[in-house]
Amino acid sequence: MEPLLRLLQQDAVASREDLARQLNLPLEEVNRRITELEKSGVIRGYQAIVDRERLDKTNVTAFIEVRITPERGGGFDRIAERIAKFDQVAGCYLISGGYDLLVVVEGASLREVASFVSEKLSTLEPVISTATHFRLKTYKENGALLVGDTAEERLAVSP
């Protein structure tokens, strides 16, 4: 991945001037390249990374294994897209192995997620079964460790 893209992935709101300084490139070059990446769809958007646990203690995330019957003609895509369009669904992946779709659902409470599964997800005709796993603790997210090394204890000045 190009260095500019890696920097933006770490900090999408970094100033263009700072990016140019780090990359040792003219400011115009950085602006031009970012526009290019946006236009070509490599950069799909910019979001804040929100620590939901801090925002709202009761917030829950569930990882749901879904087994489905593929449709003639549409395969898994049509039903997967239908599931992905629900606002509650934060992620939806076709998976190899013992089940078909991995659906990540975020909700304000256990009850909210449970009712989404029982009322929306399980009732879809091609869905054979679901298994819901609730997140208990997050150790790493988006490549960032949320638990980790102790604070640095380097000497203040060293040779």
Partner: protein
């Protein structure tokens, strides 16, 4: 009690860095650009290898020269990356950091009164280590106009019949200087002509930027037989606390160093040696990742310093920049002290690295970019204030 201390030890001045460290230590909320070690923790897979070593109960001594498997890994790494062939069982010694290797190499080579040449500004231990080995340190100043490279003519001017050893450190702490092949070739010719032994401290070899090629003097024709190649895992692999360095040299030199090492140190810690094997065999992606981070910070800090009016060449190695502060009208020490007191940013005054460092300060960019950004804002404000007063 002072009269009981050996004269050559008593006469070594206190380290300038240590004085400065104590002042910084007494203050709160200082952003330090004075740190000569990586800000990264050791890559996890290497730490994990150290844990595994302890789990298996590997807690004893090793062979004095170091674990055979580690010496094999070192010989293979040095062959791959530097193109120099060493016989692992007899030409490789594992030391407690490069500092120990330099000390025992000097003690193995120097007779009282022999002269040891080194380029300056340089790492703080060179001159004292020579004195402790009863040698005479001879500094060869290097200059900003030459990108702090060592010039063959400057070196040759200082050679006398007593000259025996040349100490090299490229990439250099504190200037970040590197030596292109041709410049190094000229130095090699001087060494051969005057029959000098070279101690080449290449601890920053992995940290070169802009695709600059790192060349070891030991790889040049006629140099392997007169060079002690010194390297370690502290900087490139962020393993300072593991204390693993090594020396590669012809057998008689390693044998002589070994005599000192076996009685003074015995061996490097076994769990650190196990971790070093993992680092040398599988550490390259992690090293590349850290190098990339350093390079971005180097670009940032160099342009920020030049923008605020402190002339600073873009160094091609290590993780230091060495800006000139003469334009402020202050000495290096006054600049560093007033910056510390006024803005709570710590940089190291150039003369801590030898008298030829006057007029410069060392800024380390082995610190997060966020910290560097704040430090640069504060420093720019400081420079503005100083120049307003001067005007």
């Amino acid at each position: 009690m002072d009269d009981k201390i050996a004269a050559h030890v008593r006469d070594i001045p206190r380290s300038g860095i240590r004085d400065f460290f104590e002042i910084v230590q007494s203050m709160h909320d200082v952003i330090s650009l004075g740190i000569g070690e990586p800000d990264f923790a050791t890559p996890w897979h290497i730490r994990e290898a150290a844990l595994f070593s302890l789990e298996k109960g590997r807690t004893g001594y090793t062979s004095n020269l170091g674990l055979p498997k580690l010496r094999e890994a070192i010989a293979s790494y040095v062959a791959r990356h530097f193109g120099i062939m060493y016989h692992a069982p007899s030409e490789v010694l594992v030391s407690v950091g490069v500092s120990e290797a330099i000390d025992i190499a000097l003690r193995a080579l120097v007779n009282p009164g022999d002269e040891v040449l080194y380029h300056e500004p340089c790492y703080v231990s060179y001159s004292p280590s020579v004195i402790l080995a009863h040698g005479t340190p001879v500094a060869v100043p290097v200059h900003e106009k030459d990108d702090f490279r060592l010039r063959a003519d400057e070196l040759e001017k200082r050679i006398t019949p007593k000259s025996k050893v040349l100490l090299l450190n490229f990439p250099t702490n504190p200037t970040g200087a590197t030596m292109p092949r041709e410049a190094l070739q000229e130095i090699a010719e001087v060494c051969i002509k005057h029959d000098l032994i070279v101690l080449s401290d290449e601890i920053y070899a992995e940290l070169t930027y802009d695709g600059a090629e790192h060349v070891s003097i030991a790889s040049l024709p006629g140099m392997r037989e007169r060079t002690v190649f010194l390297h370690g895992l502290s900087k490139g692999w962020a393993m300072t606390g593991f204390r693993i360095g090594y020396a590669c040299a012809p057998r008689p030199l390693i044998e002589a160093m070994m005599k000192i090492h076996q009685y003074a140190i015995l061996c490097a810690p076994i769990m650190a040696q196990d971790a070093a094997i993992e680092a040398l065999e599988h550490g390259e992606p992690a090293v590349a990742h850290m190098r990339e981070k350093y390079e971005l910070r180097r670009n940032f800090i160099t342009s920020a310093l030049n923008e605020m009016g402190l002339r600073c060449h873009l160094p091609k190695g290590a993780f230091y920049v060495f800006p000139e502060v003469r334009s402020t009208g202050l000495s290096s020490r006054d600049f560093a002290m007033r910056l510390l007191e006024g803005e709570k940013v710590a940089v190291v005054p150039g003369p801590a690295f030898g008298p030829s460092g006057e007029g410069f300060v060392r800024c380390s960019y082995a610190t997060s970019l966020e910290q560097i950004k704040i430090a640069m804002e504060r420093m720019a404000e400081f420079v503005r204030r100083i120049s307003r007063k001067a005007a």
